[in-house]
Symmetry: C2
Subunit: 304 residues, 2 copies
């Protein structure tokens, strides 16, 4: 397996996810923008606007290369090296506040000195947390992880809790999922096995989200729920612009701004000192935006 194989697999992942999402949405068609990076490589961004279920969604593929950015060289204590990076990034913002926002990323990074790693993750951001859906979502991720390594789910679930955390709000972005980075071969795992794991993570995305879209798309809502959705979307903006490493890396390395910021919601509201009513569904959701909830019942250490 070489990087061309990985690249091709990511391209086919983008194709198949777009196909499924178009079918489920029933109206939206992805528009494609291909772009070239002056320093090397490029990508194809695919965007949906104003679908039946999805208001704004992006499925981006890219494969870029060139001199390694200084901050990465510094982190790896290297003087100079070329890098190659390929991956698929997804964010989907639904029309309805009753349907969750989702994010997925799978990526492969390689340097001219032979160092390489895989990274990725999937996390769900419901505007209203529904325990049944949260369990279902986490169970899908756990099943994929368990097929490869029984240690993956607990480790990558905790990593997601820590990563998707809005420090200044003291709240998680959503119900988390899995997050992993810098996975490289070791005595127990070959590069092929790691790639197989990343492929399985990528492949579980479409069926899992399709299920959640269909299950929730017809739930009724009013202006009250739409207003809460706009507030939650502002927290999504805050996470992505203040903390997200992929966004920072993209903006720092002069990536294509419109592809990087396709993750922004179509609209967001900032109301000064917003406080949900006591006992409301909004308040219940806030109470569950915390780290360490054991959604699939692998331990009894946390009671929701």
């Amino acid at each position: 397996m070489n990087k061309q194989d990985i690249e091709q697999w990511f391209q086919s992942l983008q194709d198949s996810i777009c196909k499924t999402i178009e079918e489920v949405d029933g109206k939206a068609k992805f528009e494609e923008d291909s772009w070239v990076r002056p320093e090397g490589g490029g990508g194809r961004s695919r965007i949906i606007r104003n679908g039946n279920i999805l208001e704004k969604a992006g499925v981006n593929y890219s494969a870029v290369h060139g001199p390694t950015p200084d901050n990465i060289l510094k982190a790896l204590k290297l003087d100079k090296a070329d890098f190659y990076a390929t991956g698929v990034s997804i964010v989907m913002h639904p029309v309805s506040p009753m349907v969750p926002i989702i994010h997925m990323n799978t990526r492969y990074f390689e340097m001219s000195n032979g160092v390489y790693w895989f990274g990725g993750g999937i996390d769900l951001t419901p505007h209203y947390i529904n325990d049944e859906d949260a369990r279902y979502f986490h169970q899908q991720l756990k099943s994929v992880c368990d097929r490869h390594d029984m240690g993956y789910y607990p480790r990558f679930k905790t990593w997601a809790d820590d990563y998707f955390y809005i420090k200044h709000r003291h709240e998680t972005r959503g119900i988390g999922g899995i997050f992993f980075d810098r996975l490289t071969e070791n005595e127990n795992t070959t590069k092929e096995q790691l790639f197989d794991f990343v492929k399985d993570v990528g492949s579980i995305f479409a069926p899992t989200y399709a299920y959640l879209l269909n299950k929730n798309k017809n739930l009724p809502y009013s202006e009250k729920e739409q207003n809460w959705q706009a507030v939650r979307r502002s927290r999504y903006v805050e996470f992505n612009l203040v903390y997200d490493k992929g966004t920072k890396f993209g903006l720092d390395t002069d990536g294509r701004t419109e592809s990087i910021l396709m993750s922004m919601p179509p609209m967001a509201k900032w109301e000064y000192n917003y406080q949900p009513d006591l006992g409301s569904l909004e308040e219940l959701t806030l109470q569950k935006l915390v780290k360490g909830i054991d959604w699939v019942g692998t331990s009894t250490s946390f009671e929701v």
Copy 2:
């Protein structure tokens, strides 16, 4: 003059600005939230919501102290010192897209080892750039600067162009203004003179913005202009969350999130790959969101 004098002056500045803004708006009244910082000090945040002219506006005063944050110690190559910081921060988002957003900050910072400095600035972000208003605004700032030092305006105007720059958009946030930091006494200037300058900057805020509010508040607009306002507001969010040092400092040091993020607009929109129509007023505004425009005609090096 000691820090209590500075503190008191900033408090009276907050009072007088709030009074003028309430009078000009004619409807909105500031709500006040006083807060205490566990590590030392506190502040009073004053917020307007849904006024006649101002949709969301904040005028914050604070005076905080305690152990100096590590990043500042590092920048100053110091091991350990206590700090004291006081200032007034303002952001105002008008209802109408024809009325500009404004920001002002004046601040004083002091450390237990005797190091101190003043900083501050005022910048204007019109949704539609009007050359006449831009000239008027810059002329007010230039007049204040020139009373203290003929070198201030050119230096602080360039500093504002560089500071209020959205790198990933290749555009300035608005038409700039003045920005200055780490002003401390030297052979030509005493601490009292610096404080006098900062006081004059603070004092010019209310009359200058009041003039622009009154001049533009009755201009007609439609959904088209409101949509453009929502797009420009998203760029304001991007600047504040990605680049603004005050926001970063506040979030990093566990400041009061709602006071720091009062700068966020009430609502913002992100439309994928938004492009204004050729020759439209929106496009004309984009063309003027560049560094180096000589609004007051001190040189002829730039033709708008």
